[in-house]
Amino acid sequence: MSLPGFYLRRVYSLFRGEVLVLPSRVAVFIFALAVLLLPLFSQDPYLLRILIFTSIFAILAASWDLLSGFTGQMNFGHALFFGVAAYCTALLNLRLDLPPWISIPVGALGAVLAGLIIGIPCLRLRGTYLALTTLAFPIILMGVVFAIPNITGGELGLSGIDRLSNSRLTDYYITSVLMLGLGFLMWKITDSKTGIILHAIREDEVAVRSSGINTTRYKLLAFCLSGFFAGIAGGLYAHIMRTAGPSTLEVALSFQIVIWAVFGGIVSIYGPIAGVFILFPLLEFLRIVPKIRMLLFAFIVLVTLLYMPQGLIPWLRDKIEKECPRCKIRNVATRKTCRICTAELD
């Protein structure tokens, strides 16, 4: 038996056991393939540009889900992480001439610092209090940005940042591969032991604390992780737009993130990503009716929520999959018995 053949068969059996068993995973796999193979069929610069932004915002929405969906720490000011990272990246690139592959991660660390700074006072708050308090932070920072224009560029922002790469196609591959990779990483985090603790904090914080887990530390960890991923999105955005302006801190952006994530379905990581991949191109598509496009957009969101209040993706997922009542493992809807514990599915 040759070694490459062994590994090939190993990969195939993993693929069959982990991906092909569930239609939702097959869908995710097809989606990833489609994203990666798309430039073979069309290299329209406008289409690529839209998809670049879609990927960036998908990272952002997924990072919101990690903090607000999984850990239950409702954050209404997620634009803070995005904006802080965009400004950090821009300043590092302009003042210190650092290339994008250094400035983006370091800028994201700036967002982690922001997550720590706002995380510490916010740890005492919960629910709606937390949501409304976090809303305040980007607005406070925005006031500061306007008040010190010689560092932040004031209303116009910082411009003249280096390109991410030389061609749009490379930009596309960098952002989409990062989106797929970070999305998978976030999904893995939520699936790990830490993720289970985060999930438990959302369900019942008192119970988690009484199990001897330091919830404060885990909530802070969630703030930092989410800030890091959102920060990478912010850094990418700064290098793609080549400007970092106050629009990255706007309340409208914070609200937009929440709309994408809740529309796609929270507590799933892939839900928000799907939400962005549906809503962001939809908004661009609606440019055919420029005057009423935002109105139509808002109406579509309203009506969809009326029929699928849990979000689009969980609604679809529940149509094609069933959860085993005994072991909570998901199964294809056509199965009669659970694939792991052979319990009867209803």
Binding site: A131, V144, F263, M294
Partner: protein, 289 residues
């Protein structure tokens, strides 16, 4: 200077109080975070503009009519979009954001992004302690104070007010006592939005109208409500004046203050929350698990 600060602080404070108390009511009774609250305030202002400029109706008739109209509209929106999904908190939140966007965009389409204005109802000014105060400002202040008093009477002295307060305290027990919780929530929505409408009617002659005018009051209102304690009417009242005076002081005393007014007011809110996480007069809600 000092007189200016006091007068402006009082007027802004009263407007904020009207908005924040309405928001607090609907949150306390139905646990709905109504982001569209200030969008209705804007809508009332635009209704008055339309009535005055296009239909030629006297503003005195326009104002109560438009307040009633937004109240009615909000109840319709509540019935169609919010009531069916009330169990899903996140969905309700997005629904209200989307509703606010719909209102903003509808106004943008109808009127464009221009700045519009309605002339003052009364002209002339009085001199109080050496400061010129226009009668319009005094009228605004007195209407706002009267409306606040009206709400206090409604809440404290009527049977409906009793139903509202008991539903806010404990929804399930109120339901067991024979209060129709769903209807109370609907009525509260109407009342709270009508208060926002009154605030809108009051500011029409003072401010310029544009389709983005709901953003700043929204943020201030949310900050006030958190500062005062969610669901607490007294907290919203006190918080509104604290925030308004903080804003006015920053604008008058600090150079570049106009940029920083929001920042300073919100920083005060965060400072208070650091010391008292449930706000100034926070009602301790039962641990919602």
């Amino acid at each position: 200077m000092i007189q200016n600060i006091i007068i402006n602080g009082l007027i802004n404070g009263s407007i904020y109080a009207l908005l924040a108390i309405g928001f607090s009511l609907i949150f306390g009774v139905a646990r709905i975070v109504n982001i569209a609250h200030t969008a209705f305030y804007m809508l009332a202002a635009y209704f008055i503009y339309v009535g005055f400029h296009y239909l030629g109706v006297s503003p005195y008739i326009c104002m109560p009519l438009s307040v009633l109209a937004v109240g009615l509209l909000s109840i319709i929106c509540y019935k169609i979009f919010i009531q069916p999904i009330r169990e899903h908190e996140a969905a309700v939140l997005i629904a209200t954001i989307a509703l606010a966007m719909v209102i903003q965009e509808a106004l943008l389409i109808a009127f464009g992004g221009h700045y519009l204005g309605v002339p003052p109802l009364v002209s002339g000014y009085a001199t109080i302690a050496g400061v010129k105060v226009t009668y319009q400002h005094l009228l605004a202040l007195s209407v706002a104070v009267l409306a606040l008093f009206g709400v206090w009477v409604l809440l404290m002295k009527t049977k409906l007010g009793l139903a509202l307060r008991s539903t806010a305290q404990d929804r399930e027990v109120a339901n067991l006592m024979g209060i129709n919780e769903a209807r109370v929530a609907m009525i509260t929505m109407g009342i709270s939005v009508m208060m926002a409408g009154i605030a809108g009617a009051v500011v029409v002659p003072l401010f310029v109208l544009d389709p983005h005018m709901w953003m700043h009051p929204l943020i201030m209102m949310l900050a006030i409500v958190v500062l005062g304690g969610l669901g607490s009417i007294k907290g919203s009242f006190v918080g509104a004046y604290i925030m308004a005076f903080a804003e006015v002081l920053v604008v008058f005393l600090i150079p570049m203050g106009a940029f920083l007014k929001g920042s300073v007011a919100l920083s005060i809110m965060i400072l208070v929350l650091l010391i008292r996480p449930e706000g100034l007069f926070g009602v301790a809600f039962e641990e919602e698990r």
